[in-house]
């Protein structure tokens, strides 16, 4: 570590702690964080907590209503779908898909976005021109249409969804990182590192990146909610995870044909998407308010 970054470190840490304290004092944010944690735990411990096998069919239980409705059975609290599968167990297992894809896409896209954004913003020149043009072109596609086009090409599947979404998602962190890098590349601490003979790689990774990470993390959390809805949308259209694997989007789609007689088949998985996405949106807004002073009112 250079002298310049050593000097900058203590104040950056205290600022981080202060922001974290602001965030933890926001009760709504903490409640949202709890909801997110519950969903994550549900996904991790699905085989332990799911009351039934999510793929076990039984036509005698076809469209069986939730436990509290006449004809319901509390062993299947949220009722069953058209194949007699337990909706609660499928929602619990479906959390795995939504959270895995959301996290995988964001991690992959943020990694690529950071690399490309740092290179474009610090190295400038032809690297910046090439990366910025690619970003402009990718921004020229409506997100869902781009993903649908790719899914049509690659075919359905878990890995393909992650790739189809990450191929466009990386431009968002890339633009943020590029902008932040441009803003700090001429600041004294970067100049100092350069004067001490640090190479571009050291400056980008050790000097610039730690100082611009907050907005990147904030943007990535906000985007996670968006990615989860996109995945659910692809699954709803039949282009996502394939049956019999439970995914919330395809569960809503399964119930569409039965909305006249079995409202529960579509309603509960949709509610799960809403709850998780809402919790992520609220938490990420609070994170933004705490960590990015430009947004606090």
């Amino acid at each position: 570590m250079t002298d310049a970054s050593l000097a900058a470190a203590p104040s950056a840490e205290s600022l981080f702690r202060r922001n974290l304290r602001d965030f933890s004092r926001n009760r709504l944010a903490m409640a949202s964080l709890t909801v997110i944690l519950i969903f994550v735990l549900m996904a991790v411990a699905a085989p332990l907590i799911a009351p039934q096998d999510p793929n076990e069919t039984d036509l005698f239980r076809r469209l069986q209503p939730p436990g509290w409705v006449d004809g319901g059975d509390w062993r299947f609290p949220l009722g069953c779908d058209a194949l007699g599968r337990d909706i609660l167990s499928r929602i619990i297992y479906g959390a795995r898909i939504s959270i895995f894809i959301g996290a995988a896409v964001i991690v992959l896209a943020t990694g690529v976005g950071i690399l490309a954004g740092l290179a474009a913003g610090y190295l400038r020149g032809w690297v910046d021109v090439v990366i910025s043009r690619v970003v402009d072109i990718l921004l020229g596609f409506p997100y869902l249409i781009f993903a649908i086009g790719l899914m049509a090409m690659m075919g359905p599947g878990l890995l393909n969804i992650v790739l189809a979404l990450a191929y466009k998602e990386w431009v968002i962190p890339c633009r943020v990182v590029r902008g932040e890098t441009l803003a700090v590349r001429e600041l004294e601490y970067v100049e100092a590192a350069r004067a001490l003979g640090a190479g571009p790689r050291h400056i980008m990774w050790r000097e610039i990146l730690p100082n611009i990470l907050s907005p990147v993390i904030v943007v990535s959390t906000i985007r996670m909610a968006h990615v989860i809805i996109l995945e659910a949308s692809l699954s709803f259209l039949g282009l996502g995870v394939q049956p019999p694997t439970a995914s919330w989007g395809s569960m809503v789609s399964d119930g569409r044909a039965f909305i006249l007689e079995a409202w529960w088949v579509s309603t509960f998985p949709g509610l799960a998407i809403l709850l998780l996405v809402l919790a992520i949106n609220v938490a990420s807004q609070a994170l933004r308010d705490a960590f990015d002073p430009r947004f606090s009112e």
Binding site: I137, L138, G140, P142, I148, M153, G249, I259, L274
Partner: protein
């Protein structure tokens, strides 16, 4: 904005449009499966016929040449024949496009008509119950998956209350001759008010579903820009001069507060393009979005390629217009 700047921006569009076309071309060129085999399907053809077909489709040429041929055809709206319909792709798309445009425009109107008054009231009565409700509403609006919200609306208004239709554009007994393809216009041209009302009733739920995320975003933008404008000196000055508050708010503040709203609305109109695939699928709306989804399952690649390109080019042009609009409305911003 000077003409030179405008020209510069138009020239900047060219590499983006070329890049978008290249990606669409590569997407389909790399699609697994031989296009000739997909096209022929179950029919048996001789190797000579296959070679002839391959030559006609230009598949025997190098990739680079194929891209330029694709580009030359694309600017003439020539995307070949739809495998499934047996007719030119451009004709099939042209048939479905009015339904999608009509739905998107009504969604835009619904979004603007809801978001602006709500945003203004939320700003004027900051921290009131109404403001909090509007804020919660906007958060819900961006968090609700469109396909699920559409199904909830169908359950409530079409199944439970039975006041609105479940799907389609118009009832069978109200069909009118297609002149423009826009049913709201065609029914009026036919002088059939009953059919017009029926078309409007069919439009309502899909338009609300499609416009919901946009409403949420525009409401937030209107609220924050109205709050910003209300803090400006000229508003304080107008109030100090003794002008009635209502006049200050609506004549002075709102006019300027709407600049960001209009610009964001122009950008968000592009996002309606993606949303209509979902909404058209939920509501059985016979538009372009549903056609694309159907085409994916039919592996009707020429149609998917043309539609994805059309969507992307429209999106780029809408964003360009949004930029121009923002500059025109807000002279302080220079391109």
């Amino acid at each position: 904005m000077s003409l030179g700047k405008l020209l510069e921006r138009i020239i900047q569009l060219i590499p983006v449009l070329l890049g978008v076309s290249l990606i669409v071309f590569v997407m389909m060129a790399l699609t697994p499966g031989d296009p000739v085999q997909i096209m022929v399907g179950e029919q048996s053809i001789t190797p000579e016929q296959e070679a002839e077909l391959r030559r006609n489709l230009g598949l025997d040429r190098p990739m680079v040449e194929r891209f330029f041929i694709f580009l030359a055809h694309a600017v003439q709206f020539d995307f070949g024949n739809s495998f499934y319909h047996g007719r030119p792709v451009a004709d099939v798309i042209a048939e479905r496009l009015p339904a999608t445009i009509e739905l998107s425009l009504v969604a835009l109107i619904v979004a603007l008509a809801t978001a602006i008054p709500l945003g203004v009231v939320a700003a004027i009565r900051k921290n009131s119950v109404l403001d909090r409700m509007a804020t919660v509403g906007s958060l819900l609006g961006v968090s609700l998956p469109g396909f699920w919200f559409g199904i909830l609306l169908i359950m409530l208004f079409a199944v439970h209350m039975q006041v609105l239709p479940v799907s389609g554009r118009i009832g069978y007994d109200n069909e009118v001759a297609a002149v423009t393809g826009f049913l709201l216009i065609d029914t009026l041209l036919a002088g059939d008010i009953g059919a017009f009302g029926d078309a409007l009733r069919h439009l309502l739920l899909p338009a609300i579903t499609l416009g919901l995320p946009m409403t949420a975003i525009l409401m937030r933008v209107t609220r924050s820009s109205m709050l910003e404008v209300m803090r400006q000196d000229y508003v304080t000055f107008a109030e100090a001069k003794g002008l009635p508050r209502r006049r200050v708010l609506y004549r002075h503040a709102l006019k300027n507060a709407l600049i960001p709203t209009v610009s964001v609305a122009a950008i968000e109109t592009g996002s309606l393009l993606g949303g209509n695939m979902i909404v058209e699928t939920v509501f059985g709306w016979p538009g372009l979005g549903r056609l694309v989804v159907e085409s994916i399952f039919l592996r009707n690649y020429p149609l998917i390629q043309a539609a994805v390109l059309l969507y992307a080019v429209t999106y780029v042009l809408l964003n360009f217009l949004a930029d121009i609009l923002y500059t025109v409305l807000n002279p302080r911003v220079k391109l």
